[in-house]
């Protein structure tokens, strides 16, 4: 039975990652992982007319990159699982319309890559699609406009605030053999610790990461040391600290294995990004361009990829609601 424990799946059929592609903006290209990304786009407008259209263009390009690196044809893709931060996921809808493939639109905030990889791998393992794609994006400008303030508005950001990544990452999954497999997943629960501070996303999402990681370890009956790396999406420096403390309360220590895409993608000292990078594109681009190659080469053999998302809207915030989080975990393994 593939379903194990309370909220996990251990795939009986093989799900391979055939290839991944990522395109990011200038700031991300200037960061520590700059050399890893497939493409760096200097123009934040991507030659389009609005930030939202620019984000769609990012998705289009990322999808094309992934298709090329996976050596598949666009028309072979049975399903695309895609989403983004914007209301009604318009970046995704307009980004992939030109691909003319069947699509399931998703919303998982910044956990969307985890959600897309999970659903995509379920489709492959279930025999419902021999080639599928997981795709997501974020754009600093469109996110600021949607959730915070117009770019030209002056404000001071607290040290706990994160910087939304401008970037898109796409992965092609399938039944064809490759060096990387998705062997399992843990579906996250919405986790609410009552925090209302949307300028401290790490603290809002850490409980969800803790819950999903703990559930994964429990369901699979593994110790943290089973994994070479446990990588969250955008908890940032503050969220990482909180995650360690919350897990220690549950008797788990992941300090050896833990990495965070938001911490890795920017240099805190020189790029003034405070708590770190965030956004769907953060986890997605780092996964496609950095994590995946590490596993492909055998440098890391077993990775738990667990991006987190903060489930709020401007309306919910103004109406005084808290900011609950969610974390979707995927188990990636190197194929000998």
């Amino acid at each position: 039975m593939p379903a194990i424990g309370k909220q996990s799946i251990e795939f009986q059929n093989d799900v391979f990652i055939l290839g991944g592609g990522a395109i990011v903006g200038k700031k991300e290209g200037d960061g520590p992982l700059g050399n890893c990304f497939d493409r760096i786009e200097e123009d934040p407008m991507m030659g389009m007319n609005s930030w939202e259209e620019a984000e769609s263009a990012l998705q289009q390009k990322a999808a094309a990159l992934a298709i090329q690196k996976a050596s598949v044809l666009k028309d072979q893709i049975r399903m695309i699982f895609a989403g983004d931060l914007l209301a009604q996921s318009i970046a995704s809808s307009f980004g992939i319309v030109s691909l003319e493939r069947p699509v399931y639109g998703l919303f998982g905030a910044c956990s969307t890559m985890g959600e897309a990889l999970s659903l995509g791998s379920m489709a492959v393992a279930g025999g419902y699609g021999d080639i599928v794609m997981a795709l997501t994006s974020s754009h600093f400008a469109s996110a600021e406009k949607e959730f915070r303030n117009p770019l030209e508005y002056g404000s001071q950001r607290p040290l706990s605030a994160s910087w939304t990544v401008t970037g898109s990452g796409a992965c092609v999954l399938g039944t064809r053999s490759s060096k990387v497999k998705i062997t399992g997943l843990t579906t996250g629960k919405i986790t609410d610790y009552g925090l209302k501070d949307f300028q401290n996303m790490g603290a809002c999402m850490a409980p969800a990461a803790c819950d999903t990681i703990a559930a994964n370890l429990k369901d699979f009956m593994r110790e943290p040391s089973w994994y070479d790396k446990i990588i969250t999406g955008d908890l940032g420096y503050v969220g990482q600290r909180i995650l360690f403390d919350l897990l220690k309360d549950q008797g788990q220590d992941i300090t050896e294995q833990h990495l965070d895409c938001g911490i890795m993608i920017f240099d805190q000292e020189t790029q003034d990004t405070h708590a770190g990078g965030s956004g769907c594109g953060c986890a997605a681009s780092v996964f496609a361009s950095y994590i995946l190659p590490q596993v492909e080469s055998g440098t890391w053999k077993k990775v738990l990829f667990v991006p987190t998302g903060a489930l709020m809207s401007k309306t919910s915030f103004y109406e005084g609601q808290s900011v609950p989080g969610i974390a979707q975990a995927v188990v990636i393994e190197y194929v000998e």
Partner: protein, 118 residues
């Protein structure tokens, strides 16, 4: 000299507001509302005009000065038109600030494009 008073009074008001920005969860929008209402109130109890006498722009340039202008406008209009003055005074006195913001804001939007932050 009036420049010195403008500097330290204006600066002090800003420094005190900085405490609100840094140590409370108050957002800029809420702080601006608070300043304008405070200015109205201080104007009404007769405290703000003396402050402007002393500090000049140090008191009139901060948003509280805007609230004071609103209050004075309402007060004057009541003096002239009685009850109707309540509705005539506010926007009239603040006309310059609000009109300028709208007109120049619009012109700026015609000329400039949204730009990314680095």
């Amino acid at each position: 000299m009036d420049y010195i008073n403008a500097f330290w009074v204006g600066g002090l008001i800003c420094a005190l507001v900085q405490i609100l920005l840094d140590r409370t969860k108050m957002m800029p929008g809420r702080i601006m509302v608070m300043l304008v209402c405070l200015g109205s109130f201080l104007g009404a109890i007769g405290v703000y005009d003396p402050l402007i006498e002393f500090a000049g722009a140090g008191a009139s340039v901060p948003l509280m000065g805007f609230g004071n202008v609103l209050w004075k406008g309402v007060k004057e209009a009541i003096g002239k038109e009685g009850f109707m003055g309540l509705f005539m005074g506010g926007l009239t006195s603040s006309a310059v600030g609000i009109s300028a913001a709208l007109i120049f804001g619009y012109m700026i939007s015609v000329i400039f494009q949204p730009k990314m932050k680095s």
